[in-house]
Amino acid sequence: MKKRKERIDRGIKARSGDIFALSSYREMMYLSAPRFVPIIGFLILPLLLGVYWQKVLLSVAVFALLAISWDILAQTGMVSLGQALFFGVGAYITGALNHYWGVPPFISIPLATIFGGIICTLMLLPVLRLRGIYFSMVTLIIPLMLVRVIEATKIFGGTEGLTGMTPLPSRWVEVYLVIGIMLVCLFGFRRMMDSDYGLVLRGICDNDRSVINAGINIYWYKTQALFIASSIGAFAGALMTHVYMFVGMPVFALDYSIFPIAAVVVGGPGTLAGATLGACLLVPLSEALRGFGGLRIVFYGIFLVVFTVAIPEGIFPYVQRKYNEFERWVEVDK
């Protein structure tokens, strides 16, 4: 009796577009479990963790936001190497508002989010026509330039930075605010990318001339995507400023540009969920490896290489694929 492995897609009774015909609790669970697990997980985790790991969780959420922001840009065909620009601009806006005018954080953070988005979009507007590596180079260089500008002109405290920001009321507010926003961004923008509007954005990445040929102004859509992505980044920066109670040149550091890309690559690009998952793995890993001292970066690098080689499509698409199919042994009749 020979047997072979058969692989089948898990059946859903009827499926058309976004409408699922659900006939049992099992099917409802099948659809909702992958959505509820991260939501409930993120909401419960802060209650279980100590102060130190709570900070790590905060950092996870911030990097997840940056990774989501990177992924939205990448899906629109703009590969950015400068998430630090968004992060830094948001951080400095809220820093300046709070330091010079004493604007409370609950006003300065939203202001920094919106104006950070606008300022970053305006800065990158002239290079919107560039594609591929040319766009990346410009985004890489702008935050590095801004650091030197701040250093040379001594604006916003120069190399010292600005200190004494108003902290958020408590660490619970900090962590739940950022987690809440991250979950909203994750599910909201995932939905957006699946809508017709998101389809246009993804079309620009796939074949921009074809989108022009559909009578759509791609530069307008790219501007919108840029604004969305830079606002997310600016929010992350603004929040961290109030957490650290400090803003200085490190906000333009290369970490904030490169780390989100690593997170997306590990988690799986083009899904946003992959970006979040990547951040959830990499940030705690980086913390856990602290004990190795200098060797930390080596282990970290090995981990990255192993993951990208073993699952090049990314963890999330892999898990998603496995979740939707199951295997069973069937007899081969002979």
């Binding site: 577009g17 976004d18 809508s195 017709d196 509007y197 389809l199 246009v200 993804r202 079309g203 796939d206 074949n207 001339r209 074809s210 989108v211 022009i212 040929n213 559909a214 009578g215 759509i216 102004n217 791609i218």
Partner: protein, 250 residues
């Protein structure tokens, strides 16, 4: 001919560096007619299309659509006015399923204002249009990613994308190239149907036999110059065209 001109090109020129791809060409397209554009390889046919839709800027001359100058507009505006084109080298969105490819033109300002439609409605519109160009409704072809479709379907998809914009003028750039005779025979009636709807068509084609079946008028290009303009039969008999296609006797 007393018909209204839908498109008029007056003395258009295009230089790529030292190469003059289009030399002083003037022509017009009448409402509801099918204008064939033929010529040997490299004679400037595709450049002509790119000039009309402004994917490439004119060096000099002017183009009027429905009596209004359009040569200063960006491509997406021109397409919004009612000119749509297909690409000779198909340009689908490879990662998306075929019917999702249609959503993008259906989402354009022009299609939205003419057809309306909310999220979800467009899927149905897309499937209807795809059926019109020969995606069998009962099969799964329309749901497959464009990247795995054969050339014949990609050309049909390209045609359907152009149709979804509800154009007044369609420019079909070598729609039949790379297709089998049977496939050409099945697409021809679709083009004829568009003509019956009153859509004007400019058709660039190497398949002269099929083109002459449906073309009202033909212009012939060679080295960027217009060497003939007229009814299919008389054009093919002209000396200049024979020389261009078959070469002159030394």
């Amino acid at each position: 001919m007393n018909q209204a001109k839908i498109l008029e090109a007056i003395n258009i020129n295009k230089n790529f560096g030292g190469v003059q791809a289009v030399k002083n060409i003037s022509f017009e397209v009448n409402k509801g007619e099918l204008l064939g554009v033929i010529g040997p390889n490299g004679s400037g046919k595709t450049t002509l299309v790119n000039l009309i839709t402004q994917f490439v800027r004119l060096s000099s001359g002017s183009i009027k659509f429905k009596g209004k100058k359009i040569d200063h507009l960006p491509p997406h505006k021109i397409i919004g006015l009612g000119i749509s084109r297909t690409f000779q080298m198909v340009r689908p969105f490879y990662k998306l399923p075929a019917y999702k490819n249609m959503i993008i033109p259906l989402y354009s300002p022009r299609a939205k204002s003419l057809l309306g439609g909310k999220y979800g409605d467009r899927d149905a519109m897309a499937l209807d249009l795809l059926e019109e160009v020969g995606f069998e409704r009962d099969s799964f072809v329309a749901y497959k990613p464009a990247g795995v479709l054969p050339q014949g379907y990609l050309k049909r998809l390209e045609l359907a994308k152009a149709m979804s914009l509800q154009p007044d003028l369609m420019i079909l750039d070598e729609l039949f190239s790379g297709l089998s005779l049977a496939e050409v025979a099945s697409i021809l009636p679709i083009v004829e149907k568009l003509l019956q709807k009153g859509i004007s068509i400019i058709m660039i084609e190497h398949r002269l036999k099929e083109l002459f079946k449906i073309a009202d008028r033909v212009i012939v290009l060679n080295y960027g110059e217009k060497i003939a303009d007229g009814y299919a039969q008389e054009v093919m008999e002209s000396e200049a065209v024979k020389n261009a296609y078959l070469g002159t006797e030394a």
